[in-house]
């Protein structure tokens, strides 16, 4: 007789881990379908609708790309910080503030496009970095957890954007109630409405992943993230690294904000960040903070969000989509743990 047993392995085999990731996604979607079905919808029809309107037309694909791009920026932002062991919960705020700074440049500096656009990019990055500066310094010098501080900064940035867009920077033409006027410059599009923000994001992800493996700094960040004590022992400037990486994290989210305002939306308005910063946390965690992985998980999240928009047009609320993303995260966590187990068949001895 054979008996079966579970055995926990210290390392999860990558193939099993990947398979379980896929399985967790499928399970989450199945669960959601079940709930939809239970509440009187036809999940198959809804699913078909989502797929056809996302992938069935170039409009759908363009919409998808416009969601994909900010998720990459925010996902990379969170992932980079995770590499050195910091939780940037504030990508949302940095995104907002980056958008705000870029808008400031666009509205108040005049010059040729090829000067203004890069300047806006720089402003966005500086804005994002500024927005994480205080949490960074607090963490680096006073060991204050960045978890809370970055989160709190989000609300400030959000309110700031609302205030500017409805007050001092409100479109003077009187046409819009709660946005600035249309920015005089915009990130050029290369395919339909999809602008260069996307390819740039992909390039940044590739660059970051090369950076992690093939630069000396990447190695140092790996050590400092895994054990700051060992990094200090090897004489690495741990504090400087932490500050550098966290500012980079903020800058990435800020650049995402600039691309959003100057490429996708065209004007600064409240809620421009659309929760990308928070979803970015999920993107980064699912990708295990690997920059190339972020591309995959950001794409996947974009599909979900887009699906959510389609579902909304079918009379479902955004909560459904949020619930599905939550489910995926839950199943993925279970799957990650399960990947460590292997089933053993042992021949039980007679008697």
């Amino acid at each position: 007789m054979t008996s079966m047993r579970l055995q926990r392995m210290p390392l999860a085999p990558p193939r099993v881990a990947f398979a379980l990731r896929v399985l967790s996604v499928v399970l989450a979607i199945l669960t959601a379908a079940l709930v939809l079905w239970g509440s009187g919808h036809n999940p198959l029809a809804l699913g078909a609708k989502v797929i056809s309107s996302t992938f069935g037309s170039s409009f759908g694909l363009e919409d998808l790309s416009l969601l994909f791009s900010p998720l990459i920026y925010c996902g990379l932002s969170v992932a980079v910080a995770l590499r050195i062991g910091a939780w940037n919960i504030g990508a949302e705020g940095q995104f907002n503030f980056g958008a705000l700074c870029a808008t400031g440049v666009a509205l108040f500096v005049s010059g040729p496009v090829w000067v203004i656009l890069p300047l806006m990019g720089v402003a966005g990055m500086i804005g994002g970095a500024l927005w994480i500066l205080v949490p960074t310094l607090a963490r680096a010098y006073a060991d204050v957890s960045e978890l809370i501080t970055t989160l709190l900064m989000n609300f400030v940035a959000m309110l700031l954007v609302y205030w500017l867009a409805t007050g001092p920077w409100l479109d003077p033409s009187g046409m819009a109630l709660a946005t600035t006027s249309r920015l005089p410059v915009s990130v050029p599009a290369f395919w339909g409405i999809v602008h260069w923000g996307l390819p740039i994001a992909i390039l940044i992800a590739i660059a970051l992943s090369l950076f992690v493996t093939y630069t000396r700094w990447g190695y140092e960040v790996r050590i400092a993230g895994a054990n700051p004590g060992a990094a200090r022992y090897a004489g690495m400037p741990v504090r400087t690294q932490l500050i550098g990486i966290m500012l980079l994290s903020g800058a990435l989210a800020g650049l995402g904000g600039m691309m959003e305002v100057a490429g996708t939306v065209g004007r600064l308005q409240g809620g421009i960040s659309n929760n990308y910063g928070y979803i970015g946390i999920m993107v980064a965690v699912l990708a295990r903070a690997a920059p190339i992985g972020v591309l995959a998980t950001a794409f996947f999240m974009a599909v979900l969000l887009n699906g959510g928009i389609v579902l909304q047009s079918q009379g479902l609320t955004t909560h459904t989509v949020l619930a599905v993303t939550g489910l995926i995260l839950l199943y993925a966590a279970i799957g990650d743990e399960a990947a460590h187990y292997k089933i053993l068949r042992t021949k039980a001895k007679d008697g």
Binding site: R216, Y219, I223, A226, N227, Y233, G235
Partner: protein
């Protein structure tokens, strides 16, 4: 093999007494490694059973199976006559098996009483601090382990922390206590106290499994000895029939010749010191941990630092390696003021440092073996050029270090924490010796190493010395210091009590200085 009746009789048990723990053909495989292969082991009530073996022989793994941390791939585990299959350490504790790991698992910010009661089903749901402490005090007297229930764990010495760990295990009614290299971090005095407590524990009909690399102490404390080699059991012997030599031979599988360490007096090529400390002091969080330390270190000598652990040795290594900056005083390396140079600069100038606490400061246990092996040389060619890092170069260097360190690594991408304790130490030691062109600071370098590895390492220290490197050897083992160092300095309460050439030193005067007598006040 002896029939089991005679084992019980020789242990003074009635014939037919079942073993507390019995392992039958236990095997455990990791990817690319056979950690245990068909191991049989019987442990009877009342015995102290020692488990010996070279680094990586599979001792810790076997005990992790017994305590439910790992699951075996094949075999049987029988506790008190019942076949068991633990799925977690909690199961093992319920069955009366407790383990004290080499790295303590206490909550440092909690008091002793709180640590004892933490996660214990028998702790009442609501209880006042006072009654927690009374219960702890009661347990301590019942079990014969003196602890102060009110003390905060972080303030305790290593020996006291270990006693708390043991009390924690015994309080949960353990009948079998497993200790993984318990004396590696203890002072000789603390080790003696531990042995007394263990004897009292087994006298009550309980059993102990004791893992150690110190043959002398194994011969002193144990009743029987089981030796593992490459994951297989090679023998279980009565301690009375063993000698250090026979045990060493069983462990290695062939006669080992411990190279006689010919102590040629150090060649003083240069009369100028390589390193001079003058009036170096270091303030800690509360008090001064180093007080006016002054000494010269010469190329081609081994300077032994004696002293009870915790008397400033660690701080001294930190100051010399640049991990801490002295609050006052001056450090000069080959004529250059390096007081504030920092760890990186000093490593580049050829100062290697085998740290006291390899897991927390010398390694990143969750990262790959490759990443850990190249920690000292990642920044220079061939590993790095103009800021670019070569993973292939790193892999090559890691292979090279592992092979001279004699560590078998199935997969260099595996996290370093999967290496056996001794193999981690071997890797760190080799990595540091490679960069030590001028000075090697070795803090308790033989901790966790098996006899053969200690011998190899010491031989290498001597070679380094003969090639003109200065070695600072910090050790608690007087014998090690007396046989390898050229001079011995003694530390007490952050000060150097005195320094003398080894041939003029004797255990007694060093002992006096370790207790706080200054050299000039010696009788």
């Amino acid at each position: 093999m002896r029939d089991s009746a005679s084992v019980q009789q020789r242990l003074g048990l009635t014939p037919g007494t079942p073993p507390i723990l019995s392992l039958k053909s236990v095997s455990k495989y990791f990817p690319g490694v056979i950690a245990n292969e068909s191991v049989d082991l019987d442990v009877y009530p009342g015995e102290i059973h020692a488990l010996l073996g070279e680094n990586g022989a599979g001792k810790s793994t076997l005990m992790n199976i017994v305590t439910g941390i790992y699951k075996m791939d094949a075999g049987e585990l029988i506790v008190d006559g019942r076949r068991r299959d633990f799925s977690s350490p909690t199961d093992a504790i319920e069955a009366g098996i407790g383990m004290v790991h080499q790295h303590f698992k206490l909550v440092r910010a909690f008091t002793v009483a709180e640590n004892i009661h933490l996660g214990w089903p028998e702790t009442p749901k609501r209880i006042s601090r006072n009654s927690l402490e009374t219960r702890t005090a009661q347990l301590a007297t019942d079990l014969g382990l003196a602890v102060n229930p009110k003390a905060v764990v972080a303030d305790l010495s290593t020996g006291e922390q270990q006693r708390v760990e043991i009390l924690r295990v015994l309080a949960r009614d353990a009948k079998l206590l497993i200790l993984d290299e318990p004396t590696a971090v203890l002072t000789p005095q603390e080790a003696r106290e531990l042995f007394t407590a263990l004897r009292a524990f087994t006298a009550r009909g309980n059993a102990v499994i004791f893992i150690s690399h110190k043959l002398e102490e194994v011969l002193e404390i144990s009743d029987r000895i089981t030796v593992l080699r490459n994951g297989e059991k090679v023998a279980t012997e009565w301690t009375k029939d063993c000698t250090e030599k026979s045990l060493a031979q069983l462990m290695v599988g062939r006669e080992i010749v411990l190279t006689e360490t010919h102590k040629k007096s150090a060649i003083r090529v240069k009369a100028a010191p390589v390193l001079s400390l003058s009036d170096v002091s270091l303030k800690g969080e509360q008090d001064t941990v180093l007080k006016n330390i002054s000494f010269d270190l010469y190329p081609g000598e081994i300077l032994g630092i004696a002293g009870v652990a915790g008397n400033g040795q660690r701080e001294l290594t930190y100051v010399i390696s640049g991990l801490s900056q002295p609050s006052s005083g001056k450090i000069v390396l080959d004529g250059e003021d390096v007081t504030r140079a920092g760890a990186r600069a000093l490593a580049q100038k050829g100062i290697g440092h085998i740290p006291e606490d390899r897991l927390h400061s010398g390694m990143a246990p969750t990262l790959s073996i490759t990443d850990n092996a190249v920690l000292r040389e990642y920044g220079a060619p061939p590993l790095s050029r103009k800021g670019w890092f070569s993973p292939r170069g790193a892999a090559n260097l890691a292979r090279e270090i592992a092979s001279i360190a004699e560590v078998m690594v199935p997969d260099f991408n595996m996290p370093a924490r999967n290496l056996s304790g001794g193999n981690q130490q071997r890797l760190v030691a080799r990595r540091e010796m490679r960069i030590a062109e001028r000075i090697l600071i070795a803090a308790y370098p033989s901790r966790g190493l098996d006899v053969g590895a200690i011998n190899t390492m010491m031989r290498y220290f001597l070679e380094l010395r003969d090639s003109g490197v200065a070695v600072v050897l910090i050790s608690e083992e007087l014998e090690e210091l007396l046989s390898f160092s050229d001079r011995i300095a003694v530390m007490f309460h952050g000060e150097i009590m005195g320094t003398c050439p080894t041939d003029k030193a004797d255990a007694e005067t060093i002992g006096l200085m370790m207790g706080g007598t200054r050299q000039e006040d010696l009788p």
